[in-house]
Symmetry: C2
Subunit: 186 residues, 2 copies
DNA sequence: GACAATATTGAGCGTTTGCTCAAATGCTGT
DNA sequence: ACAGCATTTGAGCAAACGCTCAATATTGTC
Protein backbone atom coordinates (compact mmCIF):
# COMPACT_ATOMS: atom_id res chain seq x y z
CA UNK A 1 0.00 0.00 0.00
CA UNK A 2 1.13 3.51 -0.77
CA UNK A 3 1.47 5.69 2.27
CA UNK A 4 -0.07 8.97 1.17
CA UNK A 5 1.90 11.98 2.27
CA UNK A 6 0.27 14.60 4.44
CA UNK A 7 0.67 16.99 1.55
CA UNK A 8 -1.45 14.78 -0.69
CA UNK A 9 -3.96 14.21 2.09
CA UNK A 10 -4.50 17.96 2.32
CA UNK A 11 -5.15 18.21 -1.41
CA UNK A 12 -7.50 15.21 -1.30
CA UNK A 13 -9.41 16.70 1.63
CA UNK A 14 -9.77 19.98 -0.26
CA UNK A 15 -11.22 18.17 -3.27
CA UNK A 16 -13.55 16.22 -1.00
CA UNK A 17 -14.93 19.30 0.68
CA UNK A 18 -15.27 21.26 -2.56
CA UNK A 19 -17.45 18.46 -3.91
CA UNK A 20 -19.71 19.00 -0.91
CA UNK A 21 -19.65 22.74 -0.29
CA UNK A 22 -18.23 24.36 -3.40
CA UNK A 23 -15.59 27.07 -3.34
CA UNK A 24 -16.82 28.37 0.02
CA UNK A 25 -14.66 25.66 1.57
CA UNK A 26 -12.31 27.08 4.22
CA UNK A 27 -8.78 26.21 5.27
CA UNK A 28 -9.92 25.20 8.74
CA UNK A 29 -12.43 22.73 7.35
CA UNK A 30 -9.72 21.26 5.15
CA UNK A 31 -7.21 20.80 7.97
CA UNK A 32 -9.89 19.25 10.14
CA UNK A 33 -10.89 16.71 7.49
CA UNK A 34 -7.28 15.95 6.59
CA UNK A 35 -6.54 15.45 10.28
CA UNK A 36 -3.62 17.87 10.37
CA UNK A 37 -2.81 21.11 12.15
CA UNK A 38 -3.68 24.43 10.60
CA UNK A 39 -0.03 25.31 10.25
CA UNK A 40 0.76 22.39 7.97
CA UNK A 41 -1.59 23.56 5.25
CA UNK A 42 0.09 26.93 5.20
CA UNK A 43 3.48 25.25 5.22
CA UNK A 44 2.74 23.43 1.98
CA UNK A 45 0.34 25.78 0.22
CA UNK A 46 -1.02 29.25 -0.11
CA UNK A 47 -4.77 28.98 -0.07
CA UNK A 48 -5.45 30.51 -3.51
CA UNK A 49 -3.06 27.99 -5.07
CA UNK A 50 -4.45 25.01 -3.20
CA UNK A 51 -7.97 26.05 -4.03
CA UNK A 52 -7.15 26.39 -7.71
CA UNK A 53 -5.26 23.09 -7.74
CA UNK A 54 -8.15 21.19 -6.18
CA UNK A 55 -10.61 22.80 -8.58
CA UNK A 56 -8.40 21.94 -11.55
CA UNK A 57 -8.11 18.32 -10.42
CA UNK A 58 -11.88 18.03 -10.16
CA UNK A 59 -12.51 19.31 -13.66
CA UNK A 60 -9.66 17.34 -15.16
CA UNK A 61 -11.50 14.26 -13.91
CA UNK A 62 -14.79 15.57 -15.29
CA UNK A 63 -13.31 16.11 -18.73
CA UNK A 64 -11.66 12.71 -18.77
CA UNK A 65 -14.91 11.01 -17.85
CA UNK A 66 -17.14 13.11 -20.10
CA UNK A 67 -15.04 12.63 -23.23
CA UNK A 68 -13.39 9.19 -23.17
CA UNK A 69 -10.99 8.74 -26.06
CA UNK A 70 -12.10 5.27 -27.10
CA UNK A 71 -15.89 5.53 -27.25
CA UNK A 72 -17.91 5.67 -30.47
CA UNK A 73 -19.03 9.23 -31.22
CA UNK A 74 -22.80 8.74 -31.36
CA UNK A 75 -22.85 6.81 -28.10
CA UNK A 76 -20.51 9.29 -26.43
CA UNK A 77 -22.71 12.22 -27.46
CA UNK A 78 -25.81 10.44 -26.24
CA UNK A 79 -24.14 9.90 -22.88
CA UNK A 80 -23.09 13.55 -22.80
CA UNK A 81 -26.70 14.64 -23.28
CA UNK A 82 -28.03 12.16 -20.74
CA UNK A 83 -25.55 13.15 -18.05
CA UNK A 84 -25.52 16.88 -18.78
CA UNK A 85 -28.12 17.77 -16.18
CA UNK A 86 -28.13 14.75 -13.89
CA UNK A 87 -28.90 15.73 -10.28
CA UNK A 88 -25.52 14.59 -8.99
CA UNK A 89 -23.83 16.96 -11.43
CA UNK A 90 -25.27 20.00 -9.63
CA UNK A 91 -22.15 20.52 -7.54
CA UNK A 92 -20.09 20.79 -10.68
CA UNK A 93 -22.30 23.56 -12.04
CA UNK A 94 -21.92 25.32 -8.74
CA UNK A 95 -18.16 24.91 -8.75
CA UNK A 96 -17.99 26.13 -12.34
CA UNK A 97 -20.12 29.20 -11.69
CA UNK A 98 -18.22 30.16 -8.56
CA UNK A 99 -14.87 29.66 -10.30
CA UNK A 100 -15.83 31.86 -13.24
CA UNK A 101 -16.79 34.60 -10.82
CA UNK A 102 -13.66 34.19 -8.70
CA UNK A 103 -11.48 34.19 -11.82
CA UNK A 104 -12.25 37.89 -12.07
CA UNK A 105 -9.98 38.64 -9.12
CA UNK A 106 -7.91 35.47 -8.58
CA UNK A 107 -5.12 34.81 -11.11
CA UNK A 108 -4.58 31.17 -10.09
CA UNK A 109 -8.26 30.43 -10.53
CA UNK A 110 -8.36 32.29 -13.82
CA UNK A 111 -5.62 30.04 -15.20
CA UNK A 112 -7.37 26.92 -13.93
CA UNK A 113 -10.71 27.91 -15.45
CA UNK A 114 -9.09 28.81 -18.77
CA UNK A 115 -7.42 25.41 -18.89
CA UNK A 116 -10.58 23.52 -17.99
CA UNK A 117 -12.60 25.51 -20.51
CA UNK A 118 -10.07 24.75 -23.25
CA UNK A 119 -10.07 21.05 -22.36
CA UNK A 120 -13.84 20.75 -22.32
CA UNK A 121 -14.11 22.66 -25.57
CA UNK A 122 -11.44 20.51 -27.21
CA UNK A 123 -13.07 17.32 -25.96
CA UNK A 124 -16.49 18.22 -27.35
CA UNK A 125 -14.97 19.44 -30.62
CA UNK A 126 -13.05 16.19 -31.05
CA UNK A 127 -16.19 14.20 -30.34
CA UNK A 128 -18.18 16.13 -32.91
CA UNK A 129 -15.43 15.76 -35.51
CA UNK A 130 -15.20 12.04 -34.87
CA UNK A 131 -18.91 11.75 -35.47
CA UNK A 132 -18.53 13.52 -38.80
CA UNK A 133 -15.79 11.20 -40.04
CA UNK A 134 -17.91 8.25 -38.90
CA UNK A 135 -20.83 9.64 -40.86
CA UNK A 136 -23.16 10.06 -37.90
CA UNK A 137 -23.84 13.73 -38.59
CA UNK A 138 -22.69 16.67 -40.65
CA UNK A 139 -21.72 20.06 -39.21
CA UNK A 140 -20.52 23.17 -41.05
CA UNK A 141 -18.10 24.07 -38.24
CA UNK A 142 -17.49 21.55 -35.48
CA UNK A 143 -15.57 23.95 -33.26
CA UNK A 144 -18.18 26.68 -33.45
CA UNK A 145 -20.90 24.14 -32.71
CA UNK A 146 -18.92 22.86 -29.74
CA UNK A 147 -18.59 26.37 -28.37
CA UNK A 148 -22.31 27.02 -28.74
CA UNK A 149 -23.33 23.70 -27.21
CA UNK A 150 -20.89 24.20 -24.34
CA UNK A 151 -22.13 27.71 -23.66
CA UNK A 152 -25.76 26.59 -23.86
CA UNK A 153 -24.96 23.82 -21.39
CA UNK A 154 -23.45 26.39 -19.01
CA UNK A 155 -26.37 28.75 -19.31
CA UNK A 156 -29.00 26.08 -18.75
CA UNK A 157 -27.04 24.70 -15.81
CA UNK A 158 -26.97 28.15 -14.26
CA UNK A 159 -30.74 28.40 -14.44
CA UNK A 160 -31.15 25.00 -12.82
CA UNK A 161 -28.60 25.85 -10.13
CA UNK A 162 -30.71 28.48 -8.47
CA UNK A 163 -33.76 26.23 -8.55
CA UNK A 164 -35.33 29.01 -10.53
CA UNK A 165 -38.51 29.24 -12.49
CA UNK A 166 -40.30 26.65 -14.52
CA UNK A 167 -37.33 25.02 -16.22
CA UNK A 168 -36.68 21.43 -15.14
CA UNK A 169 -33.68 19.20 -15.74
CA UNK A 170 -35.61 17.21 -18.34
CA UNK A 171 -36.47 20.31 -20.33
CA UNK A 172 -32.89 21.52 -20.11
CA UNK A 173 -31.68 18.24 -21.58
CA UNK A 174 -34.25 18.51 -24.38
CA UNK A 175 -33.04 22.04 -25.11
CA UNK A 176 -29.48 20.76 -25.50
CA UNK A 177 -30.62 17.94 -27.79
CA UNK A 178 -32.74 20.31 -29.86
CA UNK A 179 -29.84 22.73 -30.24
CA UNK A 180 -27.70 19.91 -31.60
CA UNK A 181 -30.44 18.90 -34.01
CA UNK A 182 -30.61 22.45 -35.30
CA UNK A 183 -26.84 22.57 -35.64
CA UNK A 184 -26.62 19.43 -37.76
CA UNK A 185 -29.79 20.02 -39.75
CA UNK A 186 -32.23 17.43 -38.34
CA UNK B 1 -36.91 69.21 -6.47
CA UNK B 2 -37.68 66.09 -4.49
CA UNK B 3 -35.71 65.72 -1.28
CA UNK B 4 -34.64 62.10 -1.31
CA UNK B 5 -35.02 60.37 2.04
CA UNK B 6 -32.00 58.80 3.68
CA UNK B 7 -33.70 55.46 3.18
CA UNK B 8 -33.75 55.97 -0.59
CA UNK B 9 -30.22 57.31 -0.55
CA UNK B 10 -29.05 54.05 1.04
CA UNK B 11 -30.76 51.99 -1.65
CA UNK B 12 -29.35 54.22 -4.38
CA UNK B 13 -25.85 53.95 -2.95
CA UNK B 14 -26.18 50.16 -2.83
CA UNK B 15 -27.17 50.08 -6.50
CA UNK B 16 -24.30 52.40 -7.34
CA UNK B 17 -21.71 50.24 -5.63
CA UNK B 18 -23.09 47.00 -7.02
CA UNK B 19 -22.66 48.42 -10.52
CA UNK B 20 -18.99 48.93 -9.67
CA UNK B 21 -18.06 45.98 -7.48
CA UNK B 22 -20.79 43.39 -7.87
CA UNK B 23 -22.38 41.52 -4.98
CA UNK B 24 -19.18 41.75 -2.93
CA UNK B 25 -20.38 45.21 -1.90
CA UNK B 26 -20.39 45.61 1.90
CA UNK B 27 -22.65 47.49 4.27
CA UNK B 28 -19.79 49.71 5.39
CA UNK B 29 -19.07 50.79 1.81
CA UNK B 30 -22.76 51.55 1.31
CA UNK B 31 -23.07 53.71 4.43
CA UNK B 32 -19.90 55.56 3.49
CA UNK B 33 -21.12 56.37 -0.01
CA UNK B 34 -24.60 57.27 1.20
CA UNK B 35 -23.04 59.54 3.81
CA UNK B 36 -24.86 58.00 6.75
CA UNK B 37 -23.90 56.15 9.90
CA UNK B 38 -23.63 52.37 9.93
CA UNK B 39 -26.55 52.10 12.30
CA UNK B 40 -29.00 53.74 9.93
CA UNK B 41 -28.64 51.05 7.31
CA UNK B 42 -29.47 48.41 9.87
CA UNK B 43 -32.36 50.50 11.12
CA UNK B 44 -34.04 50.47 7.73
CA UNK B 45 -32.87 47.18 6.24
CA UNK B 46 -31.49 43.76 6.84
CA UNK B 47 -28.54 43.33 4.51
CA UNK B 48 -29.85 40.29 2.60
CA UNK B 49 -33.06 42.19 1.82
CA UNK B 50 -31.33 45.41 0.81
CA UNK B 51 -28.90 43.48 -1.35
CA UNK B 52 -31.71 41.61 -3.08
CA UNK B 53 -33.74 44.82 -3.52
CA UNK B 54 -30.85 46.66 -5.13
CA UNK B 55 -30.11 43.71 -7.40
CA UNK B 56 -33.76 43.48 -8.41
CA UNK B 57 -33.90 47.19 -9.19
CA UNK B 58 -30.84 46.89 -11.42
CA UNK B 59 -32.27 44.04 -13.46
CA UNK B 60 -35.72 45.57 -13.65
CA UNK B 61 -34.04 48.49 -15.41
CA UNK B 62 -32.09 46.13 -17.65
CA UNK B 63 -35.23 44.32 -18.73
CA UNK B 64 -37.10 47.55 -19.36
CA UNK B 65 -34.28 48.88 -21.52
CA UNK B 66 -33.57 45.63 -23.32
CA UNK B 67 -37.16 44.94 -24.31
CA UNK B 68 -39.01 48.21 -24.87
CA UNK B 69 -42.69 47.66 -25.53
CA UNK B 70 -43.05 50.01 -28.48
CA UNK B 71 -40.14 49.07 -30.74
CA UNK B 72 -40.48 47.10 -33.97
CA UNK B 73 -39.45 43.47 -33.48
CA UNK B 74 -36.66 43.18 -36.05
CA UNK B 75 -35.01 46.38 -34.89
CA UNK B 76 -35.41 45.41 -31.25
CA UNK B 77 -33.82 42.00 -31.85
CA UNK B 78 -30.95 43.58 -33.76
CA UNK B 79 -30.32 45.90 -30.84
CA UNK B 80 -30.49 42.95 -28.44
CA UNK B 81 -27.77 41.17 -30.41
CA UNK B 82 -25.62 44.26 -30.71
CA UNK B 83 -25.79 45.09 -27.02
CA UNK B 84 -25.61 41.53 -25.75
CA UNK B 85 -21.87 41.52 -25.19
CA UNK B 86 -20.99 45.20 -25.11
CA UNK B 87 -18.06 45.89 -22.78
CA UNK B 88 -20.11 48.06 -20.44
CA UNK B 89 -22.49 45.14 -19.90
CA UNK B 90 -19.78 43.08 -18.19
CA UNK B 91 -20.84 44.15 -14.70
CA UNK B 92 -24.33 42.83 -15.37
CA UNK B 93 -22.97 39.39 -16.30
CA UNK B 94 -20.96 39.46 -13.10
CA UNK B 95 -23.98 40.46 -11.04
CA UNK B 96 -26.08 37.77 -12.70
CA UNK B 97 -23.52 35.04 -12.11
CA UNK B 98 -22.96 35.98 -8.48
CA UNK B 99 -26.70 36.21 -7.85
CA UNK B 100 -27.35 32.77 -9.30
CA UNK B 101 -24.70 31.34 -7.00
CA UNK B 102 -25.93 33.23 -3.96
CA UNK B 103 -29.51 32.16 -4.68
CA UNK B 104 -28.46 28.70 -3.54
CA UNK B 105 -28.34 29.84 0.07
CA UNK B 106 -30.16 33.20 0.17
CA UNK B 107 -33.98 33.09 -0.10
CA UNK B 108 -34.36 36.80 -0.85
CA UNK B 109 -31.86 36.59 -3.69
CA UNK B 110 -33.48 33.44 -4.99
CA UNK B 111 -36.80 35.23 -5.30
CA UNK B 112 -35.19 38.22 -7.00
CA UNK B 113 -33.33 36.06 -9.51
CA UNK B 114 -36.43 34.02 -10.27
CA UNK B 115 -38.37 37.22 -10.95
CA UNK B 116 -35.67 38.70 -13.15
CA UNK B 117 -35.28 35.45 -15.06
CA UNK B 118 -39.02 35.28 -15.67
CA UNK B 119 -39.11 38.91 -16.83
CA UNK B 120 -36.18 38.52 -19.21
CA UNK B 121 -37.62 35.30 -20.57
CA UNK B 122 -41.05 36.87 -21.05
CA UNK B 123 -39.54 39.93 -22.70
CA UNK B 124 -37.59 37.92 -25.24
CA UNK B 125 -40.53 35.59 -25.87
CA UNK B 126 -42.83 38.54 -26.53
CA UNK B 127 -40.28 40.07 -28.87
CA UNK B 128 -39.96 36.83 -30.84
CA UNK B 129 -43.74 36.43 -31.03
CA UNK B 130 -44.16 39.99 -32.22
CA UNK B 131 -41.66 39.33 -34.99
CA UNK B 132 -43.68 36.31 -36.08
CA UNK B 133 -46.96 38.21 -36.32
CA UNK B 134 -45.11 40.93 -38.23
CA UNK B 135 -43.79 38.30 -40.62
CA UNK B 136 -40.10 38.93 -39.90
CA UNK B 137 -39.37 35.30 -39.04
CA UNK B 138 -41.02 31.99 -38.31
CA UNK B 139 -40.33 29.87 -35.21
CA UNK B 140 -41.84 26.51 -34.22
CA UNK B 141 -41.90 27.46 -30.54
CA UNK B 142 -41.13 31.05 -29.56
CA UNK B 143 -40.89 30.33 -25.84
CA UNK B 144 -38.49 27.43 -26.25
CA UNK B 145 -36.36 29.51 -28.60
CA UNK B 146 -36.34 32.36 -26.09
CA UNK B 147 -35.17 29.99 -23.35
CA UNK B 148 -32.39 28.63 -25.52
CA UNK B 149 -31.23 32.05 -26.69
CA UNK B 150 -31.33 33.36 -23.14
CA UNK B 151 -29.35 30.42 -21.80
CA UNK B 152 -26.84 30.68 -24.64
CA UNK B 153 -26.45 34.36 -23.84
CA UNK B 154 -25.76 33.51 -20.20
CA UNK B 155 -23.25 30.82 -21.04
CA UNK B 156 -21.33 32.96 -23.51
CA UNK B 157 -21.32 35.87 -21.07
CA UNK B 158 -19.86 33.59 -18.40
CA UNK B 159 -16.97 32.67 -20.66
CA UNK B 160 -16.27 36.30 -21.44
CA UNK B 161 -16.52 37.27 -17.79
CA UNK B 162 -13.41 35.44 -16.73
CA UNK B 163 -11.47 36.81 -19.69
CA UNK B 164 -10.97 33.20 -20.61
CA UNK B 165 -9.61 31.52 -23.69
CA UNK B 166 -9.86 32.53 -27.29
CA UNK B 167 -13.49 33.64 -27.37
CA UNK B 168 -13.94 37.37 -27.94
CA UNK B 169 -17.02 39.54 -27.58
CA UNK B 170 -17.40 39.72 -31.37
CA UNK B 171 -17.40 35.96 -31.71
CA UNK B 172 -19.87 35.63 -28.86
CA UNK B 173 -22.25 37.99 -30.63
CA UNK B 174 -21.89 36.00 -33.86
CA UNK B 175 -22.67 32.81 -31.95
CA UNK B 176 -25.88 34.34 -30.67
CA UNK B 177 -26.87 35.53 -34.14
CA UNK B 178 -26.05 32.14 -35.67
CA UNK B 179 -28.13 30.36 -33.03
CA UNK B 180 -31.09 32.54 -33.94
CA UNK B 181 -30.57 31.82 -37.62
CA UNK B 182 -30.61 28.11 -36.91
CA UNK B 183 -33.74 28.50 -34.80
CA UNK B 184 -35.75 30.28 -37.49
CA UNK B 185 -34.34 28.31 -40.44
CA UNK B 186 -32.06 30.82 -42.26
C1' DG C 1 -40.80 76.77 25.26
C1' DA C 2 -41.39 72.02 26.96
C1' DC C 3 -41.83 67.41 25.97
C1' DA C 4 -42.52 63.13 23.43
C1' DA C 5 -41.37 60.78 19.30
C1' DT C 6 -38.57 59.86 15.74
C1' DA C 7 -34.18 59.89 13.25
C1' DT C 8 -29.34 59.15 13.45
C1' DT C 9 -24.80 58.17 15.21
C1' DG C 10 -20.50 55.28 15.78
C1' DA C 11 -17.95 52.60 19.06
C1' DG C 12 -17.75 48.10 19.59
C1' DC C 13 -19.39 43.01 19.90
C1' DG C 14 -19.12 38.42 18.08
C1' DT C 15 -17.83 35.75 14.37
C1' DT C 16 -15.13 34.18 10.53
C1' DT C 17 -11.32 34.38 7.51
C1' DG C 18 -6.25 33.22 5.91
C1' DC C 19 -2.11 33.12 7.93
C1' DT C 20 2.21 33.56 11.38
C1' DC C 21 5.50 31.81 14.49
C1' DA C 22 7.68 30.03 18.48
C1' DA C 23 7.58 25.70 20.36
C1' DA C 24 7.09 20.66 20.28
C1' DT C 25 7.75 16.34 17.94
C1' DG C 26 9.69 12.79 14.92
C1' DC C 27 13.38 11.02 12.21
C1' DT C 28 18.26 10.12 10.60
C1' DG C 29 23.09 9.44 10.67
C1' DT C 30 27.17 8.69 13.44
C1' DA D 1 22.94 8.23 22.99
C1' DC D 2 22.79 12.45 20.95
C1' DA D 3 23.18 16.27 17.76
C1' DG D 4 20.96 18.12 13.67
C1' DC D 5 17.37 18.73 10.63
C1' DA D 6 12.79 18.51 8.77
C1' DT D 7 8.08 17.98 10.11
C1' DT D 8 4.12 19.34 12.62
C1' DT D 9 1.44 21.78 16.02
C1' DG D 10 -2.15 25.21 17.67
C1' DA D 11 -2.70 29.47 20.09
C1' DG D 12 -3.26 33.64 18.43
C1' DC D 13 -2.82 37.89 15.15
C1' DA D 14 -4.92 41.16 12.03
C1' DA D 15 -8.45 42.13 9.07
C1' DA D 16 -13.23 42.10 7.50
C1' DC D 17 -17.92 41.07 7.99
C1' DG D 18 -23.09 42.10 9.60
C1' DC D 19 -25.15 43.89 13.26
C1' DT D 20 -26.40 45.84 18.26
C1' DC D 21 -27.30 49.42 21.36
C1' DA D 22 -26.86 53.21 24.41
C1' DA D 23 -26.39 57.90 23.46
C1' DT D 24 -27.31 62.07 20.79
C1' DA D 25 -29.57 65.15 17.39
C1' DT D 26 -33.71 66.44 15.04
C1' DT D 27 -38.47 67.04 14.37
C1' DG D 28 -43.32 67.57 15.50
C1' DT D 29 -47.14 68.92 18.79
C1' DC D 30 -49.58 71.43 22.18
Amino acid sequence: MTTTSRRDRILAATIDLMLEQGLATTTRAVTERAGVGTGLLNHYYRWPDLRAAAWAAIFAAVTAEQFPADAEADIALERYFAKAFAPDAAIYWKLWTEAVDLATSDPAMRAAVAQAQADLDAGLTALLRQGMTSGYWRLPDAEATAQRLGALHDGLAGLLLAGIGHLGAGQAEQHLRQAFRLECGT
